[in-house]
Amino acid sequence: MDARVEFPARPMRARAALAAMAFALALSACRAGSPAPIFPPGAQVLHLASLDDIPTLDPAAGYDVDSWMFEQMIFDTLIRYSDSGVDLVPDIAASWTASPDSTVFTFHLRRDVRFSNGRAVASADFKYAIERVLDPKTRSKGMEYYRGIAGAADFAAGRANSVAGIETPDPWTIVFRLSAPDPIFPHKLAMPFAAAVPREVVARYGEDFSRHVVGSGPFMLRQWIGGQRLVLVRNPDYFVKGVPRLDGVVEAIGVNEDLQWFRFETGAIDLSAIPPAVFPYVIKTSRLKALTMRIVTMTTRYLGMNCQMPPFTDVRVRRAMNYAIDKRKLVAVINGRGIPANGVLPPSLPGYDPDLRGYPYDPARARGLLENAGYPHGFTATVWLPADQTMMILAQSVQQDLALVGVQLKLKPVGFAPLLDAIRQPRTVPLFFSGWEADFPDPANFLDVLLSRAQWGANNDSWFYDPRFDALLAKAKPLADPARRFALYREAQRIAVADPPWVFLYFPVTWQIRQPWVHGLVLNPMRPARLDRVWLSPHPSPK
């Protein structure tokens, strides 16, 4: 066949294909995205941005900063933390009492609180919320916090229709009876897991409740487009008069740190994290520095050592590791956004021990300890760490420090889930980078959870065990008097520091920057900042 015969037809086909493509493109481009809901002119709308999508808005399911930030805007708990601190203040509960032995807690509810669907909030809604968390079908990450309520185990196992230890004698009273003393139980009720949810709405939407949340908090969900944006609007019937001061909050989703910064510079968002690359510039620029906010969070970063794996079975080696690593240099590596750690408990935590000296940088002493332990030429070890850029930089700094005392580190970056899984297996991971963020402001949340014998195979990832340490924890746990309680925990912490299962690295400091027109924002050391009392002064719209 003569190919030329066919040719004239093809440009036509090509043109047709191009035209079709152009049409499809134009059509699709016109439909790109969905317009954000229009707030009336002059409305007080706070614009935020985040990289990750919000995992969930269902308080029974969420257990991360992003989910909690929005859950605490949509839902109310019986009690909550004050805006800037970790003292418990009333939320829906007007008052509460605890029995002297910390086994019975009674809460009296306000009578003027309504869900945004109009129904009054009653004590039964709190009981339902906690039963929902305890129900295995919900797969809640919070179930462990409420297992101490009498009858919780029977309910979770299907042997009872309700939790016997939660009583609702009238719509405005709820009583929790615990199977053992737990003075910090009220803190567990301040977690979003225990927020009131309307049973009828959960029943209607089932697992999709997260997309149709109804709460009694200061804001209501208006729009949530996965990967794009989440929009909250003011709840006009919120029980605190004059709150919230904002008409809405718009969170752009999927915006990486650099893009957040660009948007902040153009005024398109009102609050932003500060990317490491621009942090020095921000600190040197007085105009920008004046807009920054910082807070020491209740978090500890550490290098865990497996106390069951040689050479870390020898306390001299573990002490040598602590002396060999320069924590000040580590903090410098992260732009000074941290405080060198002196022990397990961070400085913002009640019960913190300011007199604890920890391990200063002393490589000569580290070499001496290694020599005494039978490692005059050091040793080689593999350190597991989450595969993330900051962790790699920190690990390289630690690698350099340890090389000076003869310890050669091999870095093994892995995904977070595999890392977590591996460190929970006995005698598997010799060294690992990790950290812990407080769930509630009590030393038990660090010492009990991370270092007690009961947590082997769970959160005690360094497989640490000291019977004196465990005995002190057992003595401290039921005590309601903070002074006696904290004294025992301080003593326990001194044992853990003298026989260190970790290299105590640093306590992170969170920095944020706000636009000059944002007012009333306060950072909290343990929870995402609440936006109820934030307001905006007049400002130019972003171009």
Binding site: A32, G33, E207, G226, F262
Partner: protein, 310 residues
């Protein structure tokens, strides 16, 4: 023709079954407990045991796989462990954004690539050809995340002509499209330059020019239709890749597409979402391959589909 299409669809289904089996196996043999991914770092062993039972992770692997396939055949790809939403719904909600970006990027890269390739071939071994070669090599070597960031800083931050990322209207499409298209266009231009150069040396083109046809007409009407076939193959596969999502570009531009969804799924070890996105991407590649073959026959009637074995 119909028999060919039916046969290809049949083999496509086998590929999909294989992809699902391999993904499922890889996902479940990695040393990580999905229950930990669901419950978070702080969960106690009791909570993990409850969640394993709830998710059916305590069942033998083959039962878990059989159940997955059964549900998948009914259009149910399961529920995301982390988001607790239907995977099918999540994928479908992200696909339009990806499709729009893929269509615009492939259209622009073909437009620029064909134009540059044709020009370079027409002016072979002359200054323009050399300049186009330098430009193409530069663009091919430029990392997408870097080019994207530069375009954002230039077009979004300083000039403020385009939005700083996001998916809000036609203007937001410009910078991510350019980011994806410039590199591909450069690559396409080099492929077309080579194949067009070869075609221009063929007797039928020389004959056409000898008979008095202009060089431009000889290139466009005689050489180009034959030279463009390799480009169709590559662009077809590229298009399938674009439809499966482009993680870096989507991340740089805050584009809510499939690539970021898949990345988040892998990062969170969200197995149902990993499986769903892989299967969906595999289906797109199979479909794109089939379409490319059909397009081949449409562009060049000398190609007879399914006749190879005779």
């Amino acid at each position: 023709m119909l028999a060919y299409v039916v046969r290809r669809i049949f083999f496509g289904l086998i590929v999909l079954a294989g992809a699902s089996l391999i993904t499922f196996t890889i996902a479940y043999v990695v040393p990580a407990d999905p229950a930990v991914a669901v419950a978070g770092a702080k969960a106690d062993p009791q909570t993990l045991a409850v969640i394993r039972r709830q998710l059916g992770l305590d069942q033998p692997l083959y039962i878990q796989y059989a159940r997955y396939v059964d549900h998948a055949l009914h259009g149910d790809l399961g529920r995301s462990y982390i988001r607790r939403e239907a995977v099918t719904g999540l994928i479908l909600s992200r696909f339009p954004a990806t499709a729009i970006l893929a269509i615009s990027a492939i259209a622009l890269s073909l437009l620029l690539g064909v134009a540059a390739g044709a020009l370079a071939a027409a002016y072979r071994d002359r200054a323009l050809d050399n300049w186009l070669l330098v430009a193409a090599l530069t663009l091919v070597s430029t990392p997408v995340f870097w080019l994207g960031t530069l375009l954002l800083i230039g077009g979004g931050l300083y000039l403020r002509w385009f939005p700083l990322g996001g998916f809000d209207g036609p203007l937001s499409l410009v910078l991510p499209t350019l980011t994806l298209a410039l590199g591909s266009a450069a690559y396409y231009s080099r492929i077309l330059h080579a194949s067009l150069g070869e075609a221009l040396d063929q007797d039928y083109v020389r004959t056409a020019i000898g008979k008095g046809l202009s060089r431009r007409a000889a290139i466009l009407r005689h050489a180009m239709p034959n030279a463009i076939l390799p480009l169709v193959t590559i662009a077809g596969l590229d298009f399938a890749g674009l439809l499966s999502g482009v993680v870096l570009t989507e991340t740089v531009f805050n584009w809510p597409g499939l690539g970021r969804l898949a990345f988040e799924a892998v990062f969170n070890l969200d197995l149902p979402l990993i499986m769903g996105t892989v299967l969906f991407s595999a289906a797109l590649v199979v479909a794109a391959n089939l379409l490319v073959d059909l397009l081949y026959a449409w562009l060049d009637p000398r190609i007879e589909l399914g006749a190879g074995r005779n």
